[in-house]
Amino acid sequence: MENKAIGLDKGWDYMQKGITKLKRILEGLPEPPFTSEEYMMLYTTIYNMCTQKPPHDHSQQLYDKYREAFEEYISSTVLPSLREKHDEFMLRELAKRWANHKVMVRWLSRFFHYLDRYFIARRSLPTLNEVGLTCFRDLVYQEVHAKVKDAVITLIDRALLKNVLDIFVEIGMGKMDRYEDDFEADMLQDTGAYYSRKASSWIEEDSCPDYMLKSEECLKKERDRVSHYLHSSSETKLSEKVQNELLVAYANRLLEKEHSGCRPLLRDDKVEDLSRMYRLYCKIPQGLDPVANIFKPHITAEGTALVQQAEDATSNQASSAPGVQEQVLIRRTIELHDKYMAYVTDCFQNHTLFHKALKEAFEVFCNKTVTGNSSAELLATFCDNILKKGGSEKLSDEVIEETLEKVVKLLAYISDKDLFAEFYRKKLPRRLLFDRSANDDHKRSILTKLKQQCGGQFTSKMEGMVTDLTLARENQANYEDYLRSNSAAHPGIDLTVTVLTTGFWPSYKSFDLNLPAEMVKCVEVFKGFYETKTKHRKLTWIYSLGTCHINGKFEQKIIELIVSTYQAAVLLLFNASDRLSYSEIMAHLNLTHDDLLRLLHSLSCAKYKILSKEPNTKTISHGDYFEFNSKFTDKLRRIKVPLPPVDERKKVVEDVDKDRRYAIDAALVRIMKSRKVLGHQQLVSECVEQLSRMFKPDIKAIKKRMEDLITRDYLERDKENQNMFRYLA
């Protein structure tokens, strides 16, 4: 290398040769590639020209000439070639030219690299790379980008597209604005228009499932587009656009389609189509609302239809056993619940919106009364039947368990849970006392489930009852031991006693029945035994729950009669007298008219006529006479003479109402005590909320209790604002 300073012109000439060589290579003309020596020379030329002492420091001029090199090439060669081509060919050319340009920038910036290191850095000028790209942008991109976009939108060749679209991205030099503004916006609009056209024709012709299939495909196609040649940032925007045009715009028409829309799909159990519907709409904000809004009324309608069916069936078939239709209803309701819960978990992927719809739908029809019975009562009866020994069908243990679980789930929808508890509590004792062989485990398991659902308070008494029985068995064993050791005390009749704890069991009226002498002895003996065990308890005998096995010596044969204690007391009277009048029996036994009527009816006018009645009418009247019917017989050796139980429904409802009044009072006082001053509406709504776990309080009932509390000086109305109440300590 000479020490003489290189003149600008001379140096530039040398560079120009290199640049020309590069151009030729890019043009695809035959040209040997650069050798490392050539490269070195070019680099060094620049280096020298830049490191020469001024005035031979040509950095600035070289910088300018660098740019000019690009500009010249572009104007003379690149632009003309692009201008003469169109559409796909233009795109192809553009892609090629862009690739070339990048190569050119790379090479030239290597040659001129020294500028980057000192001149540019010192003056904070755009780098060589930036300069190169800017030239292309300002000269080529600016001119062609609109044409390019149009061509892209109509194009199919993906690889080419990808290359071209990359230009949009890279020209932004780090920012996406070129891609978004110059290309994406229009692309989206165009796509939207395309799908809008398609949708408007599809919605007319296609059924809902078909339309959904097509939509799914379109979405998939668009996603493919993105992965193949669009920039990934377009994906969400594109999906949104397509969804908008296909699914949102026509949501109502689609879902409401008469023969294939959401309702028919639900009706015909088209699980797959429903799943697709969910998949398509779950990504759209609030897209699932219309679907849920059809789901809910559909379930409600089906449930209400079931209720109506049961009502109609009971009123039409007077001959069917009472309660059968209601039990069928419960069973069908459970099945309905299972079916739609499956939809929610499978098709609708357990989405909360659909859980909510299911819950609300069930709450509507589960609280309807059927043939005058509340659903709470029906459910309690259903449980009772399942758990009774034998019940309506012989069910295996697992089935019983499962069914009980489902019953408890249904209980969640019923607002009068306390009513269910009361009915269940009334039926439980009868089951416990009379069906000893029914499965203990089931009893315990349903109680556990109920406890989980409704809280310990709900089930504490019932659990007490079950425990009592276990203890009673032990007690009985001890009593028998006692008898064995004191054989003199034996009353002559076998007696089994079940001792119940008063608080747990429903209150039973205990009459002062005049027991037959034989039974009196039994009672005394047991009392004696019990006192040896504990001194501090008082025994009250509930004869209404007792059972008696009596042998009736009829003419034809001896038949063992299984009757209630009361019935036995009546029958034993006839050991001493042949014929008794109604009033005589009444005087002997000391019962009320109502009870006596029922008793005598069961023994003389029902299936088994153990007593003959004079006059021989179907009902009992006060002037009737009764005799032992020695001619009575039956093919069995042992018969059960049932005593129909008193209709407890009224009492249960009364008891529950009373408990509710106390509960409302307590809730109101609790709330007012902590808030001190509260507006009427707020008080009511808080009260309702507090009690909602057990029942839905009637607003009027709450108002009445409030009035009562005012009278009892717990609350007062505010003087200024009549809608406010104050707690009086």
Partner: protein, 234 residues
Amino acid sequence: MMRRSAYASKKTGQPNSTNPISCSPSDIFRTASSKASSKEMERIDNLFYSFANRSSGMIDPEGIETLCSDMEVDHTDVRILMLAWKMKAEKQGYFTLEEWRRGLKALRVDTVSKLRKALTELEKEVRRPSNFVDFYSYSFCYCLTEEKQKSIDIESICQLLDLVLGSQFRAQVDYFIEYLKIQSDYKVINLDQWMGFFRFCNEISFPDLSNYDPDLAWPLVLDNFVEWMQAKQS
């Protein structure tokens, strides 16, 4: 609830000291008026004793009846109730000396005829909205005869409503009385319900009941009444 307000007797006369040195015309006037007022008080007391029962020292129901016939006013007239209000009488059917004094002084009367004339003015005064609420609640409490009594039976309430509100809200009172007689939810009415009805008459347009909102804190008996009215009207 009515409380026995310790009615501190206001001295209408001025201190009797008449300092001769600083005796001014106003002093003379005051002295004269205080003389006159003590005279008045005497007349009022005498009037009281003319109706009062000797042994109890109070005017009892018999005495009130005599007073009423002297005034030529029926003893069930609402103005007698208003008089009781003015007196702040505590026990229904009885006036004590203090109550008598209070009432008659306030009315500035000391004879039966003056009292009778004053009744008209009294009625006007009571019917002024600012006073009427007080009178209305007083009339309820006045009827609570037993010590711990908080409510009044339906029969009496109907009579009281007619007496107290009949002239002002004839239609509402008539319908409400009809309803009270046929319903069976309530055997008695308490003060809160009583006051509620007055509010009802004042605030709710009748008989269309268009602005009645059962979700507000109206007493339940009124909710039921409105329901009954609406059922009747449809």
